[in-house]
Every structure is written in C-alpha cells, then in structure tokens.
C-alpha cells in the first residue's frame, strides 16, 4: 500500500445527507488497507459524533455505533474542531468516542501534514 497519508474531513451533519455514512465507509476501508488515515470533524460534521442518536426513527441507518470500532482499524487520528464544538454548545462529553479536540491553528497544522485531503 502507498505510504501517502490521507485526511478524511466530515463537514456535514448526519442523517439529512449521506456524507457522514460514506465518509465512514471510506475511513474503514482506508484503515483495513493499512493506509495512514486521519478522520476530522469540522463545522456541522461534529454532530456525527453525538451520543444518543436514534436514526431508526427517520428510517436511516445508525452508523454512529461504528465510530467505536475505528480503534480496531488502527485509526487513531481522530480530530474534532474545538471552535465548531463550542459554537454548537457541545463539549467532548457529548461525543461517543474519545477524540483529540484542537483549536483552529493546531487543527490546520494537523491537516497540513497529510498528503491528500478529501471532504464530505
């Protein structure tokens, strides 16, 4: 597998659009291929990680349960934008998995370290 590092950015909230589900699919495949991958949550993307989602009620798949499996795919770069959390009245305690919460400067620096960046 290539040594190129890929960052996958979530910018969209879950359930209203399919971005989050297909970003997660891509992340899991990247992990299973041994790709060096970082998963980022910015802007409305932070809503992906909220605990207590029950999307069955809107006939959508509850893929948020799968975030807990990311560690088994050796995906340990999980970054959430501090500013985006704060703007939405959220803290790390509202999220379903342990993540690295970074201020905009540090987050940008983390993103810049990847060879390729895709956003959803």
């Amino acid at each position: 597998m290539t040594s190129k590092r890929i960052a996958i950015i979530n910018r969209t909230a879950p359930h209203g659009h399919s971005q989050g589900q297909e970003a997660l699919d891509m992340t899991l495949v990247a992990g299973s291929f041994g790709q060096d991958v970082g998963l980022f949550f910015l802007d409305d993307g932070v809503f992906q990680l909220l605990t207590g989602q029950k999307p069955d009620a809107v006939l959508r798949k509850n893929y948020s349960k799968t975030f807990a499996a990311l560690e088994f795919y050796d995906i340990d770069t999980l970054v959430v934008c501090q500013q985006s959390l704060q703007a939405r009245g959220l803290t790390q305690a509202d999220l379903c998995i342990p993540v690295q919460v970074l201020a905009p400067d540090a987050l940008r620096e983390a993103l810049a370290s990847f060879n390729h960046i895709v956003s959803f």
Partner: protein, 95 residues
C-alpha cells in the same frame, strides 16, 4: 501550505467563512463554480478577510460563465494555472 478550492456561493453557504477561519498566510484560495459570486460581496463582512489573502485566485471560466468581473487584487486564472497551483501547494481541500 494548503490550497483551498471554494465551490459554493458565500451568500448562501458558509464554506467560505469556515475556510477563512482556518487559513494561514501561506495558504491559497481559489474561487470556482458558484464561489466566484464572492467577488460581488463588497458589502459583506467576509469580503475584506477574503481579499486580504494574498494568494486569492478566481477561475476565469466560472467568472465569464456568470457574467461577473473580478477586482484587480484577485488573480484570475484558467484551468492550466489551476493545475499548476495544486502542485505549488502541498495539498488541496475542496470545500
């Protein structure tokens, strides 16, 4: 050094503001597709932060397609220059 490709009009989408909140001086911004409407944003709060980015580019084809014009401080480029720009920066984000 990240090259940010903006595709949505900032009058109806927050991508430009969200991007501007995260750029550094070394980064570049390319306005393409509906994002070129940002050039009509003189009255908007995001206009000065945007035009103060020294590497601000707008895609010629998208400007012409929409019947707008670009102020002098914006570098107007075509697709060949866009291709070259993606190589000048370390990586590319499409917003």
């Amino acid at each position: 050094m990240i090259l940010h490709l903006l595709r949505a009009s900032p009058f109806s989408d927050q991508s430009l503001c969200q991007c501007l909140g995260r750029v550094t001086e070394q980064d570049g911004i390319v306005l393409m597709q509906d994002a070129v409407y940002a050039l009509r944003g003189q009255e908007q709060a995001w206009y000065n932060p945007m035009t103060s980015v020294s590497s601000l580019y707008a895609l010629k084809e998208d400007i012409e397609a929409r019947g707008i014009s670009a102020p002098e401080q914006v570098h107007v480029i075509g697709y060949p220059e866009l291709v070259t720009l993606t190589l000048k920066f370390d990586n590319v984000i499409s917003w």
